[in-house]
């Protein structure tokens, strides 16, 4: 296996770890849990973009990773901004 293959293996494993986080995105249980899953997907997505870029020798994929990081943080800030008036999902279980 040369380095390119290693990067593709890493990309596949990163995709699979990303899939694990989707359970948290589905089940919650708290509002913040859904959002944390989105953050994890964004960080893993940056990792996949880096590995794909390295495998394809395409440095412009790094720009896509950078853009993804910026926009992911915008989504998190938009979620947390309404700290006082925003109730969590009414349907959320309260253990």
């Amino acid at each position: 296996m040369d380095a390119v293959d290693h990067f593709m293996v890493a990309a596949v494993v990163l995709l699979l770890t990303l899939a694990l986080a989707l359970f948290r995105a589905w089940f919650g249980p708290r509002a913040i849990d859904h959002v944390m899953a989105a953050q994890l997907v964004a960080t893993s997505g940056v990792g996949v973009a880096l590995t794909l870029g390295a495998a394809r020798d395409d440095a412009s994929m790094l720009d896509a990773a950078l853009v993804g990081t910026v926009l992911a943080s915008v989504a998190i800030l938009a979620f947390v901004r309404d700290g006082q008036s925003d109730a969590d999902e009414p349907g959320d279980p309260k253990p």
Partner: protein, 314 residues
């Protein structure tokens, strides 16, 4: 390994789309939609379409996701619990049948076409005339500039349409503030906003410049700018202007205006949107910088929403 990657990615794309549509929890639906957008971005990367990947990650996942999150907050403040009422079983069964049939139909239509990169060669052959190397920018700003010009007007039109929803006693006051500090706390958000806005400006300027020869361009750059503006607004570093602010309006029409004027000037030299030989790159870059600025402001204001009355509960 590339095949395994593509297969897993496609399965996950369909799975997250299904989850976004099937979950009963609105926030989970929005999160799955954002994840779906990010995975689509990775799919475009896998297809070596980095221009589209950037646009999808920035606009499809990023801006649309932020829009949905903010809309959810606005609806919940109005007492909407965002529960999607159950549809009757017969309707769901019928929809499953109809949509499976439609998928099969579209799928067979897809299979009847052999994927091919037919226009890649002819477009690459024309690029030296423009002096740029990114073929997608070439198509957007030169070969199909008409489409792009109209698209910028669509974006501006959407903002006008959103603004026109303001009640009479609200217009032309600014949109509701996004400032986190107004709902308690916020020094971290403030510091982050102050740090990010200049970084976003640099990144946007870089993306436009790189967009001539590498993936990037005005739309991706404008989106990063809008993201920086939203973070700065949440951190309290930027306050929304009134809708009748003349500087704001100048910024909003700058991009489409410069594009239109250069296009009309082309008529004098031959035809609409004709770039004089040797000046094509300079004009494309001028259009793209002004477009990026206008797109950034327009997207940020689309997310901010319309004017609100003074007694508005945010």
């Amino acid at each position: 390994m590339t095949l395994a990657f593509d297969l897993i990615l496609c399965l996950m794309i369909v799975g997250t789309a299904a989850a976004a549509l099937l979950t009963h929890n609105a926030l989970a639906a929005i999160v799955f939609f954002i994840v779906f957008g990010n995975l689509l971005g990775l799919a475009w990367l896998a297809m070596n379409a980095v221009n589209v990947a950037m646009a999808e990650i920035a606009i499809g996942a990023g801006i649309t996701g932020v829009l949905l999150i903010l809309t959810r907050q606005r609806l919940m403040a109005l007492g909407d619990d965002l529960v999607s009422a159950e549809t009757p079983g017969w309707l769901r069964a019928g929809a499953v049948l109809a949509c499976t049939g439609l998928t099969a139909l579209v799928g067979s239509a897809v299979l009847s076409v052999a994927p091919a990169d037919d226009l890649g060669g002819p477009i690459a052959a024309l690029l030296p005339e423009l002096g740029i190397e990114n073929p997608v920018t070439g198509v957007l700003l030169a070969f199909r500039a008409y489409d792009t010009l109209l698209e910028t007007f669509v974006l501006l039109g959407a903002l006008v349409a959103v603004w026109s929803l303001a009640p009479g006693n609200a217009w032309p006051r600014p949109p509701a503030s996004l400032n986190l500090a107004e709902s308690g706390g916020g020094s971290v958000a403030q510091a982050f906003g102050r740090l990010l806005l200049p970084l976003a400006l640099v990144m946007a300027a870089y993306l436009v410049w790189a967009g001539s020869d590498f993936p990037g361009g005005a739309f991706q750059a404008g989106t990063v700018l809008a993201g920086g503006l939203i973070i700065a607004a949440i951190g309290g570093a930027v306050a929304w202007p009134r809708a009748d602010n003349s500087i704001l309006r100048a910024v909003l029409v700058l991009g489409p205006g410069v594009f239109l004027i250069i296009g009309l000037a082309g008529i004098a030299l031959g035809r609409f949107l004709f770039y004089p030989p040797g000046f094509a790159k300079a004009m494309i870059v001028a259009i793209e910088y002004s477009l990026a600025l206008s797109i950034g402001a327009t997207l940020a204001l689309l997310l901010a929403g319309r004017s609100v009355a003074p007694d508005h509960r945010s």
